[in-house]
């Protein structure tokens, strides 16, 4: 008589293919999980999932919206991959995005009644520097004061959002705006050029693609990239090799902050065109999931940002057509990360199904 037996073995040699395959398992499980949630909420799961994952991208406009949402996610996640690869837990990208948007938006407002080709580059540069400076706070506190970067970067999210709130209500609010909590509209010269007539997709996508290329180059072709990877694998080894840990921490935070700042500036100079309270639907937090789903790999992140952007779009479509609350988007995003982490089990352990003769079991 044969008895199937599951045997679990630890392994250190997970094939690379499996490493990039498990995210797909996570996505499939998330879709199944989503179907169950829709069923519990009283919707036809197949129909709901169709509205969620297919309807939003079934036309050109929808596809452009997908790219529009994927752009900031991709940019931020690329930056975060530097931090996460080197074991630095910057989870305050939302704050760096906000502060970058504040600095970039401030420059755009300086030129609100002027035109000139130099304005947009200045605004973008200001946004990147803003994000970079804001990310330097947790980095400096971590390196010189031994302070936990998770908590500091997160607290700064709340601080930056309150600062933005103060600015758009107070000193920067539109003088002709009937006290709405928003600034003036930026001039055309501070707006990202649109790629196609009638679609919202803008030139910011090239920033994201450039970031992907550049990060691939830095991570895989430079000494800095090597240091980052070694520090991530083993801090002791990195120390032994004589890497300057402090400088590296500052650098990865600066890269990540600059990327988040760029994402913020891309939003306000792209689809939004001014500063107000709601410049980001938590892109900074969601990008953490994008970074993991993309396996901290630049090209993986492109793919992951499209998948996660679809959960944003799907949530909006499902809300319009089925009155499903839009927060299902966040639930989906949380589920993706749960399932991804869970499927990592397959990387560290080999699950073997053995067929043993019954009497062999005794041994």
């Amino acid at each position: 008589m044969e008895v199937p037996l599951i045997k679990i073995e630890k392994r250190n040699d997970a094939p690379m293919a499996l490493y990039f395959f498990t995210p797909f398992i996570a996505i499939i499980l998330t879709i199944l999980g989503g179907g169950i949630i829709f069923y519990i909420l009283g919707f036809n799961p197949i129909e709901a999932l169709k509205f969620y994952f297919i309807t939003p991208i079934s036309n050109l406009y929808g596809f452009s919206e997908l790219l529009l949402k994927a752009t900031p996610l991709c940019l931020i996640a690329i930056g975060l991959s530097f931090c996460f690869k080197s074991n630095n837990w910057n989870i305050g990208a939302e704050g760096q995005l906000t502060f970058g948007a504040i600095v970039g938006g401030g420059v755009a407002l300086l030129f609100y009644n002027q035109d000139g080709f130099y304005i947009l580059p200045l605004v973008i540069l200001a946004g990147a520097i803003g994000g970079m400076i804001f990310a330097l706070i947790p980095a400096i506190l971590k390196t010189y004061f031994n302070t936990n970067e998770i908590l500091v970067s997160l607290m700064l999210v709340y601080v930056s959002k309150l600062l933005l709130d103060y600015l758009v209500v107070g000193p920067w609010s539109n003088p002709e705006g009937f006290n709405f909590p928003e600034t003036r509209q930026f001039s055309e010269s501070s707006r990202m050029p649109l790629l196609f007539e009638g679609l919202r997709i803008h030139a910011g996508i090239f920033l994201a693609l450039a970031a992907v290329m550049l990060s691939w180059f830095i991570l895989y072709k430079t000494y800095l990239g090597f240091q980052i990877k070694v520090s991530g694998l083993s801090l002791k080894t990195a120390k032994y090799a004589g890497f300057k840990g402090k400088t590296m921490i500052l650098v990865v935070f600066m890269i990540s902050g600059a990327c988040a700042g760029l994402a913020g500036v891309g939003e306000i100079t792209g689809p939004i065109g001014q500063l107000h309270r709601m410049i980001s639907p938590d892109y900074g937090f969601t990008a953490i999931i994008v970074a993991f789903l993309g396996r901290l790999n630049p090209f993986g992140i492109i793919f992951a940002s499209l998948v996660v952007a679809l959960t944003y779009l799907g949530a909006e479509t499902a809300q319009i057509f089925l009155q499903i609350p839009k927060y299902t988007g966040q639930v989906f995003q949380g589920m993706i990360l749960f399932f991804l982490l869970a499927s990592d089990y397959l990387l560290f352990f080999k699950v073997k199904i053995l067929n043993l003769k019954k009497n062999e079991l005794r041994h």
């Binding site: 908590l151 103060y166 999931i289 949380g334 990360l337």
Partner: protein, 310 residues
């Protein structure tokens, strides 16, 4: 002058009330961390506790069921974290973040129909004494039973960790899981229990917000308190009594800034609202500067994955 003194009494009473969710969540997380598990999902568990407590209150009209239910929902959601980190050996930091993102989304989804429903008045104890005794009355009396529990909790936690056998087991598992395991302690089981306990306390902390402190459901109503609670555990260098002191300081800052807003202080409201978050950073910097002290008090295996070859 007598008016001033009674005002200070009321002020202290309100500081105590605002520190309750921090005490509860931080005390729960403290036990979890002492067992070597870093659960960054405090914010997510609190918000789930807040909505399930409020929803159960509306559905059953029974505050006891609401409170117990909120703790249970905290346990259930922390079970996801426990299963992932303990049984599937996932990274604590990433799993905790996922729990927070998931919890915030799920709470908003579940709470959609509960926005704008007025809460119920939560019964307070000894309300007669509160009025009749000046100064001490508003400090000691007229609070909800949850507040009294919260103020006893750090002492109970301290007793549990230092004087009981189970407390010793928890500390052993956190400081040296391998030796604990060799002693025949089921490390994974102990950690599961500590995670679920942390979930229950965070659920209760959330319910305190939605049922007692500001009795209504508002999206994202925890507003970073879960993260401040996490910071408090570091601030307290994993000592329960210091959690109480820290929570009172933060409660004080929250109340202070509300009063400054109320009397029309010339500082913009947003800067005052940012005070608790800025204070958290400053306090963390001051505490963490002495890296030796932090290292000495941190549970040695905090955040590390334990795996026993079978």
């Amino acid at each position: 002058m007598s008016l001033d003194i009674s005002f200070i009494g009321i002020l202290i009473g309100s500081i105590m009330a605002s520190s309750v969710p921090l005490i509860l969540a931080a005390s729960g997380e403290l036990i979890t961390e002492r067992s070597g598990v870093l659960n960054l999902g405090v914010e997510g568990m609190m918000i789930i506790g807040a909505i399930s407590g409020f929803a159960l209150m509306v559905i059953t009209d029974n505050l006891f069921i609401a409170i117990v239910g909120s703790m249970l929902s905290g346990v259930i959601i922390s079970l996801i974290f426990g299963f992932l980190t303990q049984s599937l050996l996932t990274n604590h930091v990433a799993t905790g973040l996922a729990l927070t993102i998931f919890g915030i989304g799920l709470s908003a989804m579940l709470g959609k129909n509960y926005v704008g429903i007025p809460g119920k008045e939560f019964p307070v104890l000894f309300s007669g004494l509160k009025e009749s005794i000046p100064f001490f009355g508003p400090i000691l009396f007229g609070h909800s039973v949850v507040l009294y529990f919260a103020f006893a909790l750090p002492f109970l936690t301290n007793y549990f960790l230092k004087k009981t056998k189970l407390g010793l087991v928890v500390r052993a598992v956190g400081d040296s899981p391998v030796s604990a395991s060799n002693q025949g302690i089921n490390v994974i089981l102990v950690r599961y229990c500590c995670i679920l306990y942390g979930g229950a306390m965070c659920g209760l902390a959330g319910a305190y917000l939605s049922l007692i402190y500001t009795p209504q459901w508002i999206e994202n109503m925890t507003a970073g308190r879960g993260w401040i609670a996490l910071a408090l555990v570091v601030f307290a260098t994993w000592s329960p009594i210091k959690v109480l002191i820290g929570a009172l300081i933060f409660g004080g800052i929250t109340i202070l800034q509300l009063h400054m807003q109320a009397i029309g202080f010339r500082i913009p409201v947003q800067f005052l609202s940012a005070l608790p978050y800025l204070m958290t950073i400053i306090v963390l910097v001051v505490i963490s500067r002495d890296s030796r002290k932090i290292k000495l008090n941190t549970p040695t295996s905090l955040g590390r994955i334990f795996y026993k070859e079978k």
